[in-house]
Homo-oligomer: 335 residues x 2
């Protein structure tokens, strides 16, 4: 327990758990000997999955048979009791025994049980769901992705501060550049909430925290000119999902075109070899999961459908956020 | 003037006009001898661009020196007077001398001058900007794309009716399948306006007009299960622009990967040959422009930056809409 970072891990959520979770821990451990994993779940299943390479000094299993189901509503999940692996993991953070909590389980349940157990950061009104997106120059933080359908200007300003704090804790050597997602780059467009947020961010932003770059339109989200993108949860979710859908559509059309002729098959094979770089760059496992921020501990949601590599990447995000002192950055910036 | 379709063409808007516009007309004319083009703009420039192949029976030039600039605000554009090529073209439709109007000029000006001149269709409260999107099975109509930032449930129901009427006039042999863009596919998600629209569409939809398919999330927009996608102008614009931005991002990453090695160059060359099918399928000129619906004549906006092929495709949309009797379809369906 003298490790740098302690992560409370809900081992029972998502497809292929707990195996995926334990394999993810093993993979993460290879490059990070200073992390302690407190693993919540069914010990009978988990202990057989733990590889010999994982030092006993780096993990502990907290046994429970009870767990939240993927099909539970948030209310049903909360009613399952305080001995689910998810609840216990969150409670562990609440009790300051861990620095952060990760789960690949039910998103709605995770948000609700986190809100029930953890306090809001003072002066933040609503927590937000954020994620990493690729852009031409690196990665962006985008928030909110659906935790808050309706937002006022204060909420959006909070998101800007939390998003830039998150960006800085993940990428300490880069400058956070904040933009508001809107439908026009001129000051006159957008609804009243967005216009008012624009005015506030223009007044309050401090150069040492982030640069405010004004509005951004959907077609510029990935050009890398900004790296913290702020929207209400409805708009942010539509943008994220539409980007996913477009990427899937293009990839499937590309595959169709490549398979449509003999020449296509040959060139497809060559491209396959070479496109590894392309694929690696856009591997969704790199951008796996979401970070729920605004509570006094960060809560990390790994995609339920990702594999152990994706889960391992999310553990790296946990580690960076804790080492980057995210919560204190937010507290300092919000005041 | 005994032609099937008369199109009022603003020849002076967009990049490379009037040449692009006239070349677009020539291209469209090759496959459509029954269209009459009434061309508004600077006769001195236009007449030298008209090819000999274009029969005198198929066009007429209405001379004016005045035109709306790309940088005009809508108010400035309207103040330029009633003798701009855009105003005159719209007025020609108002006077029932043409069936529809097309411009590659200033979008805001086109919307405002159209609203000043043309009546709303009875029982439609707000006109909407719609466009065509590719999907895995064909094309979808998406609306609103930015004409109305704030919408109530009545507006969204109107958009569903107008969008499905547009779809049916473009693709008479297909079934219009309407969905509401939302952030969850379950009935409980979304804001109050969307939930109320859902209830109304569920009650009023008539099988002969369209099938109502419920909610759709951004990641399913292009899977082809639905073909009429309804959103308020803010959400629709964010989705459209984000899809564009994602497509550009992926294409540029793909090019980078293909150029990064000798093997890549060879495979890139092979792919280039074969990817024509892919490119043709996703050629933005196929989806060029937007259709402003809700006024008692359709108003077609071609992208300012498209080339003559794109403009020609928009002329085909004009022709299909008129032959498909769009306005009467809407009137019949709205009542």
């Amino acid at each position: 327990m003298s490790k740098d970072v302690t992560i409370a891990v809900d081992a029972m959520g998502g497809d292929g758990s707990p195996k995926k979770v334990i394999d993810g821990i093993s993979n993460h451990y290879k490059n990070s000997k200073s992390t302690f994993y407190r693993i919540f779940g069914d010990e009978d299943q988990i202990k057989n999955l733990i590889p010999k390479t994982l030092s006993n000094n780096n993990f502990e299993i907290v046994h429970t048979k009870n767990f939240v189901k993927g099909t539970d509503t948030p209310l049903e999940a909360a009613k399952r009791g305080k001995d689910t692996s998810m609840w216990l993991a969150i409670e562990n953070v609440k009790n300051k025994e861990a620095d952060t909590i990760i789960s690949a389980g039910n998103t709605g349940a995770l948000l609700v049980i986190s809100k029930l157990n953890l306090k809001m950061i003072e002066n933040i009104d609503k927590p937000a769901l954020s994620a990493l997106w690729p852009n031409k120059k690196g990665m962006s933080v985008v928030l909110d992705l659906g935790a808050n359908i309706e937002c006022n200007d204060k909420n959006l300003v909070d998101f800007a501060i939390m998003g830039s704090s998150l960006f800085k804790s993940l990428f300490p050597n880069e400058t956070a550049k904040v933009a508001l997602l809107n439908i026009g780059s001129e000051e006159i467009k957008g609804n009243e909430v967005i216009k008012s947020t624009y005015q506030k961010l223009n007044q309050i932003h401090k150069e040492e925290q982030y640069e405010f770059k004004g509005y951004i339109e959907g077609n510029s989200l990935m050009n890398g000119e900004v790296n913290v993108i702020v929207a209400d949860g409805f708009t942010g979710n539509v943008a994220l999902k539409t980007a996913e859908g477009t990427a899937n559509f293009i990839t499937s059309e590309l595959k169709k075109a490549m398979k449509s002729s003999l020449l296509g098959k040959i060139s497809g094979l060559l491209s396959y070899i070479n496109l590894n770089q392309f694929k690696q760059r856009l591997d969704p496992r790199l951008y796996n999961g979401a970070i729920f921020i605004g509570l006094d501990s960060p809560v990390i949601k790994s995609h339920g459908s990702t594999d152990y590599i994706g889960f391992s990447n999310s553990l790296s995000v946990c580690e960076k956020i804790v080492k980057g002192d995210l919560i204190n950055k937010i507290k300092k910036n919000i005041s």
